[in-house]
Structure formats: structure tokens, C-alpha cells
Symmetry: C2
Subunit: 394 residues, 2 copies
DNA sequence: CATCTTAGTTCAGAGGCGAAAACAAGCACC
DNA sequence: GGTGCTTGTTTTCGCCTCTGAACTAAGATG
């Protein structure tokens, strides 16, 4: 019942161009010949289209491969310097702005510390805009070369151009961050939830690479998930899908900071773990967690069990091909306990879907949020590589 | 990261033809003029394409509409007799075979009772094949007019041509029902889980109509869900997505017939409800449930709470636009308790996604499984209306 | 240097869509 | 009844895209 969508000859070209570009991007240096095989397009089409792309400098040659007794193939690749993407991570304690080339290599970055409870939207918007200028000049990149700015933020982001955000922990209720930023830049903007941008990063460049049905869970202070269906992030009707942390695993259980009871986050969020272990934090949660893990406290096993229940619910409901456990708590737990987590998940899920799922640890560090935000720009670029970009003064 | 898919000029035609046909199907009698507006296609294209469809008898004229001062519009509609679809419901106690025209009006049906614990796959395949012959001759339809056979079965159906089924309650583990049926017919076959076909029916013709992000839950002996993302059923990597009944809502809770503990089904499945209410069934579960509901037993309220938790988890995780409660237990509960169910759901879900969701009762009765199965055929027809159908002897 | 092999380009042809002109079919009003 | 007006549908024509096949390019081999 997907909505009807007419097509015209031009869409074909656009679509095939995107197909070609994606193939080129993900298969690395490739010859035209290979491209015909991989895309199913005719050699003629590949030839004319690559000629276009070369002419636009989106694609560049990358050496040759000898063949035994014939004309050597010329390798082609996406020009990593054709454009750049800015990725921004708006977090509790800092705003980080990174500049990435098309290969998602970080070219420059800058951090702005936030004083606790100073989450004035205007201030954050100013930090972001200043950060963009800084990374551009640091890397010697002009604004015209920037394809867009991706921003990962906490909370729920309304779909729509204004990037309206609801983030309880920030005290933001209906903050139009997108609109605020647009006052200071006319570059394309992409605002999304930080857990989702992290998920996107793991999906494209981390442990989730290649999976088309996957869940990337984020365990940290908060607990969330990115659900990937058919290769794209599933957002639900109002972009809030994936609020795994507040699904209930114990009806009427422990109170959670969301106001509910029995939420998964109330068992496996860092605060909940420390609380249940009776640890009074001295400020360094990572160290505290390491202490708990080393202590062989029964809380560890319980945590694994609860996490297993939460993961099993995903296995049963979503039937993913892969579950990636990310977030610093997730990685710290997983490093020593992954087999136990798998066991706990198996114990609580149906045999068929469990057998179809592999549970792995995330591979990208805490920079994944900014990287994923930049990936939003990359995604747009690969889907609709514009010939004429709207250039704009930063 | 959706897989690349090349396109050629011919695909456009196919796609636009499908767009046109879907619009025609769902917007009822429509003029060519309206179609240009609704589809976005040019008048020229609509004209030639409808001419084709009229020529193939897929579309027929349906009267005229006067206009004030101009040429009257000729109304067009999909010819409900262009073809027929068979829908089969394979249930615990019976096999039902129905014949539907393209408007999904039931033209004939036949039931075969199953002796308890007589779920021999061969027998069931024979029933289905016999049933097809019966409904065809009852309705005076020849096999050439049948577009396909849809079958709704319990359990997990592997993706693939053989329709391999794993259904614990049937004692089926790897039964290739599709292959068995293909021995007796060469009509196109579509085998799917019965909860999913029911979901499909509610989505297309019941309370879910028009929703593009939805969940249709089935409460009966078993408990399951159909997750609809972007208008189509979400299946996960091995077609088992939607096993909501065995998600855990009470870690380490009541034992469930799946072998696990604390499953939703162990609280809101009919057997669980009766068990918790201390009712020893005399065979008529519907009556038993009515008794429990009338008794004002605290079990009723508990059940509503547990159901609310289960639904809230869907709200948080999936963020659907609509949740349809179906299945006979669901409808029986919902008729008197829907407001309470909504309240219980609200109490356990986050405010934003809850506000975006409407929770409604299913509208289709127990025949929805067979109807939904037939809808699989319809869906195929609307997506790829073949000019030359492969006709086959039944 | 003739021949073989493989890679890439060019060209003609088929099929698709849209804009606009042409045609069709009513109404209204003199 | 004729003439113009309005609206719906069809036809014509030009442009775009893809593909298959012929053709060119570039190296290996003996």
C-alpha cells in the first residue's frame, strides 16, 4: 500500500546514477567493466555515465589493473575531495563539530564544552555555526565545497524542515534547532537523534556494515536503539521509533527517570547498574562500572540477564540479521561478557529468529555520533548526486 | 544502503501502470482526468495506459459524471471479474478455502474440519486442493480466471518458493506446504503466516486502512503482531518478525508454552487469562472469557495492565500511527475495555509516541485470515499486472 | 608485425514520458 | 439552431534513456 509514485524517464537516469555512485563508493576502486557486472547496467550506459561523473569531478581515475592479454582496466573511484560533510554531536557535556571528506576521514574537529545545565539553544546554535567556520578554515576548505551539515542531538526530532527537538534531559521542548541554524548558514541541514546517527555510523562503517535488517543498540546513560529495515533507518510515524530503553521488561518494576516503571533503562542504564550495585559515584562512571564488573557482584549477572531479555525482545519482534551493541556501557559490558549476553538472549528468544541473528559489539568509538551525522549528508549525496549544487555563503 | 537496482525504460511503464491501477482500485470509480491529478502522470500517459487496460479488460467503464458546462467525464474502475483470488485459512480446527473476486467479495467458500491432532501435511494439502476445485465450480469460475492462491498458516514461514513452515503447535517442523501444493496446481502460490495475512486484511480493508506505519496485533489462543512499515508488512531477515506474544514483559515471570518465562502470551493469551482467573474450561473459550469479563475479577484489570504494557512497548519501539487490536480475544476484551486499554498503554509509554498513535479495534471477523491470504494475490496483481498471464490447469 | 584478448566508446533504434495542439462533447445564450 | 465557452480525452511530436552491436583502444604473444 506504499503510496503511488509516478516516474518519468529522467528519474531513471537519476536512479541509475545513484546506483552507479553507490557501487563505486562501496566497492572501492572499480573498473567500468566491473561496474557493468555489479550494477546490471549495459556497458554503454556505464560508459556515458562515468564520463559525466568524471567530467563533474565526482569520480576520478585510480590507476590501472593489468589483464592477461588485453587492454588494462582503468580503475575509478569516488573523488574523496569532491565535497565535504560536517558532522555535529550535541551531547550533555559538549558540542563537537567535525569535518569529513567523502571517504569519511576526519579532516578537522573542534569541541565546545558546555557548562552543566547550560543548554541554551541559541548558545548551542552559535557553537555549531562557529565550529563549522573553525573546521573549515583549519582544513582549508571553502564553504562551497561543503555538501551539508548533519547534526546529532538527544531526544526526539520532529520530521520537517525546522528540525524541532524534544529533549527532556536538555529541558528542550520544541526547540527548532534547524531553524536557528538556518539563520547562520544556507548549507543543507540534517538534524537527527544522536542514537540514530550513531546507528547509522555503525551500519555504514562499523560492525553493521552490509546488513539490511539490523538493530544497533546504544547503552550509555540512556538506552536506545536504531532499527534498520531494508537498509534504512526505521523512524515510525513521528520519528521516535527505537525508544527501546523505555520498553518495559518488568511490569511494575523499578522506577525509571522517564516516570515509568520497569523500563529496560532502569536496569541496564549506567545509573541503574551503579545504583543496583550500591555504588555511589565519585564522578567517573567508566571507572565505577569497571569496578562493578571486577567485583563479581551478582548485579553483573542480573544486568546481563536483563539485557538479554531486552535483546531477546528485539530478536523476537524485529527478527534482525544482526544486533550491534554500541555505546560505551555496551562496549564495556560486551568486552568481557559478550558470550553471557548471547546466552541470556538465547534463553529468552524463540529459536528460529535467534538462530538468524548474530550479536556483535560496536566498532566505532564515541566519535560515532558525529561521524553518523556526517553520514546523513553522505547518504543524501549518494542518493541524489546533484550536478548543480546550491552554493551558499557559510 | 538499500541494494542497488538498475532501471530501464520498461520499468517505468510497469511502475506507472501499477500506480494507475492502485489508484483506480483504491479511489473507486474515477475519471481519466482525476487520474492525472491523483497520479501526477500526464493526461497523455493516462489516456494511452487506460486504453491498454480497457483493451485487456482489466479496467471497465462505470458510467459518467456530468460536469457543469463541459464534456462529461467517463468513470473507470477495475473490473472486479477480471480475475479471482483464492484465500485459504489453515487453522487448528479447520481448513477454510474462499474464492474472492478482485473487489474481495467472497464468491464461494468451503470448510474442512480437522480432527484434533490430525495435522498431516499431505491431508491438509489435499483439503486445500480439493477446496479450490469446489469453490471454483460452486462459483462457476474457471481455473484460468484465478490469479493465484494465498494460504495463511500458523507458525513461521521461510522465505522462498517452497513455502517451508515451522509450526510448533501443529507439530510441523520444516513442512514444505508450498511444494506439496504445487504438485496439484500450477497457479501462483503465496504462503504466509496467518497472523500476517490477518494483519494484511485489516490494513487493506479493515481498521488499518490508509495507515502506512501501523501494528496490527492478534489476540487469540496465540498472540502475535503484524508490523507495517511504509505500507508493507515488515518481515525481518527470516520472515519471523512480529513475534510479539513471546516478548517478555516480566523478566522471569509466568512460564509460557513456548518454554520461556514472562512472555506477554503467558498473561494475555486466552489460556493464560482463564488460568489466572482459575477457570476450568468446559470447551467454549469465548463463553469462558465472557464469564471472566462479567465477573469483575481483578484478573480483568491485571490483563488490561499487561496488555497495556505490551502495547506500550510497541508504541515506544515502533512509533506507529495506528494500532489495530484484532483476534477474537482482542475484540472481546476491547469491546468493553478499550478505554482502559488505552489508559494502560498511555501509562506505560512515552508521551510523544503515544500521542501519535491511535488504538482501535479490528473490524474484520475471523474470516480475515482467508481474506488476507487472498489479498496477497491482489497485492501481487496490483504491483505487477501482467498482460499475459501464465494460465494453467488447476 | 600479425593476431588474439579484453576494455571501453559510439551509434542507431526502440520505448517511454510530457507539452501542446487537436478533437470531442456538452452547456448557454442569443 | 448557430456560435462561443468550458471541460475531458486523444493525438502528434520532440526529447530522454536505455540497449545491442559495431567499432576503436590498448596491451600480450610469438
Amino acid at each position: 500500500m506504499a503510496r503511488p509514485q509516478r516516474r518519468t524517464v529522467r528519474d531513471i537516469r537519476r536512479g541509475n546514477r545513484a546506483v552507479l555512485l553507490r557501487t563505486l563508493y562501496f566497492s572501492g576502486p572499480t573498473s567500468r567493466n566491473d561496474l557493468t557486472a555489479r550494477t546490471g547496467l549495459s556497458a554503454a550506459t556505464v560508459s556515458t555515465m562515468t564520463a559525466d561523473l568524471l567530467g563533474e569531478n565526482i569520480v576520478v581515475e585510480a590507476g590501472q589493473v593489468e589483464s592477461d592479454g588485453g587492454r588494462p582496466r582503468v580503475l575509478l573511484r569516488v573523488n574523496p575531495e569532491y565535497g565535504f560533510a560536517v558532522g555535529v554531536d550535541v551531547a550533555e557535556t559538549h558540542v563537537r563539530v567535525g569535518l569529513f571528506d567523502l571517504e569519511m576521514t576526519e579532516r578537522a574537529k573542534v569541541d565546545y564544552m558546555l557548562r552543566p545545565a547550560r543548554h541554551d539553544p541559541e548558545l548551542i546554535a552559535r557553537h555549531i555555526l562557529a565550529g563549522v567556520e573553525v573546521v573549515l578554515s583549519d582544513a582549508g576548505v571553502s564553504p562551497e565545497q561543503v555538501l551539508g551539515i548533519g547534526v546529532g542531538v538527544p531526544g526526539i526530532v520532529e520530521p520537517g524542515a525546522d528540525g524541532v527537538i524534544h529533549a527532556k534531559t536538555f529541558g528542550w521542548d520544541g526547540v527548532p534547532l534547524g531553524a536557528l541554524l538556518r539563520r547562520g548558514t544556507s548549507l543543507p541541514l540534517f538534524v537527527d537523534n544522536g542514537a540514530k546517527t550513531m546507528g547509522q555510523a555503525e551500519l555504514w562503517f562499523g560492525s553493521g556494515r552490509g546488513a539490511s535488517e539490523a538493530v544497533i543498540v546504544l547503552l550509555g546513560v540512556g538506552v536506545g536503539a536504531t532499527i534498520v529495515a531494508d537498509g534504512t533507518t526505521f523512524r515510525g510515524v513521528s520519528s521516535s521509533a527505537g525508544e527501546w530503553g523505555h520498553t518495559k521488561i518488568v511490569a511494575n518494576g523499578r522506577p525509571c527517570r522517564c516516570g515509568g516503571r520497569g523500563c529496560l533503562e532502569a536496569y541496564v542504564g549506567i545509573e541503574a547498574i551503579l545504583d543496583r550495585a550500591g555504588v555511589t559515584s565519585r564522578g567517573d562512571w567508566e571507572e565505577d562500572l569497571a569496578g562493578v564488573l571486577a567485583s563479581k557482584s551478582p548485579v553483573v549477572e542480573e544486568t546481563v540477564t536483563y539485557l538479554g531479555v531486552g535483546l531477546a525482545n528485539l530478536v523476537n519482534l524485529i527478527n534482525p540479521e544482526k544486533i550491534v551493541i554500541g555505546g560505551w556501557v555496551g562496549v564495556q559490558l560486551g568486552e568481557s561478557l559478550l558470550p553471557d549476553i548471547r546466552r541470556a538472549t538465547a534463553a529468552n528468544s524463540l529459536a528460529e529468529p535467534y538462530a538468524a541473528t548474530s550479536i556483535v559489539l560496536g566498532r566505532l568509538g564515541p566519535d560515532a555520533v558525529a561521524l553518523g551525522a556526517a553520514t546523513l549528508v553522505l547518504e543524501e549525496f549518494l542518493n541524489a548526486p546533484q550536478v548543480a549544487r546550491i552554493t551558499a555563503a557559510g
